[in-house]
């Protein structure tokens, strides 16, 4: 349990970074996990080189889904859309610093899924 809800996860959950919506945004996408109702929306602003200059997430759900979105936002700011292609499941798990069972994995991956589908369309997203 101490593993599962490390201070840093609870901190991101209670004090989410880059939380909110961007208007206007260059890229906006949202999706949910029908199993538990977790919902994540991500808004991005990019410059002419496709560098992410601003990003924000909104939505609701469990600590894992919200904290991983918050951490992901911190991580991608300043990266390019191309860099996002390289993000994998393991990157998210490394940020969270925990191991997850199959149900919670879906919570953790929701924000990455929204990000990738938003940036590249459905083809880019391979569930596992």
């Amino acid at each position: 349990m101490d593993d599962m809800y490390r201070e840093v996860i609870l901190d991101h959950y209670k004090n989410p970074r880059h939380n909110g919506e961007l208007d206007p945004a260059d890229i906006s996408y949202q999706d949910d996990n029908p199993l538990c109702g977790d919902m994540i929306r991500i808004d991005l602003r990019v410059d002419k080189d496709n560098k992410i200059i601003e990003c924000a997430f909104s939505g609701h759900g469990c600590a894992i889904s919200q904290a991983s979105a918050s951490m992901l936002m911190e991580d991608i700011k300043g990266k390019t859309l191309d860099d996002i292609k390289d993000y994998t499941r393991d990157d998210i798990l490394e940020m969270l610093g925990i191991e997850l069972g199959p149900v919670r994995l879906k919570c953790a991956m929701l924000s990455l899924k929204v990000l990738k589908v938003g940036a590249y369309g459905v083809q880019e997203w391979v569930e596992d």
Binding site: M1, M4, Y5, P34, G37, R104
Partner: protein, 413 residues
Amino acid sequence: MNINNGIDIDVIKKDFPALQREVHPGVPLVYLDTTATSQKPAAVLDSLNRYYSYHNANVHRGIHTLAEEATAAYENSRKCIASFIGATSEKEVIFLRNTTEAINLVAHAWGRSKLVAGDRVILSEMEHHSNLVPWHILSEALGVEIDVINVDDEGYLDMDHYVNLLNNGPKLVSVTHMSNVLGTVNPIKTISTLAHDAGAIVMVDAAQSVPHMKVDVNEIGADFVAFSAHKMCGPTGIGVLWGRRDILEDIPPFLGGGDMIKRVYLRSFAPNDLPYKFEAGTPAIGEAIGFGEAVRYLDGIGMDKIWDHEQTLVKYAMEKVNQVPGVTIYGPSNSQYRGGVVAFTLDGVHPHDIAQVLDSDGVAVRAGHHCAMPLHEKYSLMATARASFYIYNDVDDVDALVDSLDKVRHMFK
């Protein structure tokens, strides 16, 4: 000593191998997820093992000794279950995979042969997806209309609304005997009587009632009753559709194949007699035999005692859980009208997180929509956490739940 309503829970707990295990090093299992599936007593596992080890053969067509033994055990199990639910004849007991398949069978075999576009079917807002989606599929295929009985804020069916809906002349009323979220026990006998008076037949989703209380299919006045072994100490892969003989005889078969036929030609066939008409292919023989053993186990304790025990537990649980600040419990506050299920939320904590932290203390509960999305939507909820009880639970288990809930609350404060 740990005796409650005449059941010695310490003795019962020993019957269940799973309850002897630790979930994490030094953390024993507190299993509060019976509504999803129950644990299995050693007696049932032994019967599975005995069957597969020494009597395994295909049923009904065999002459050799093993085939006769397997057939006798399989049919004996059917008789045992028939008597457990007060069926007039074991020919009315059809072995299927689970409650879901049973309801689908009725929707297909009865629905497609008896209903036409515009005919109405009544369901309720508290139904499990298993008692919604088969009717959605039927409705799409045939143009059948679906009416839905409202559930009120306390989790009871709105009986006035039901009576109103009956005025539309429905052909079928299909409702759950007990909600797997709210725990509400519906007045199924009244529902049946009213439906019959209105000319409708009655299907009862008994997935949550048959495991926990004495259900007599004739007494409740149903025409079809469905339940699953895995929720009542039996194996997965086996469930029952009970149906009134005259109706079962009147409708066409559902799945086609071995065993459900009397004769097969190259381009046609003649169906078999009941119950085989609805059992196509090699059945779940070992699992049916295990189901019979599960019913014997429950009968040995006594369904009335089991119900009383759960009543005591759920009353205690509702009191204790309610004392946790920020908790909301859903469903009837009067435990007399609810089974051993407590679904709740905790302010500021997602049910998934509750379940996760509880698991670290060995307390197994479910979190999610519990296959009842429309009901959750009605209460504007995405998910709830749910603790549920059975013969092998006691007040210590409830206390463990409440202690762990307190921990969750502090973590997320």
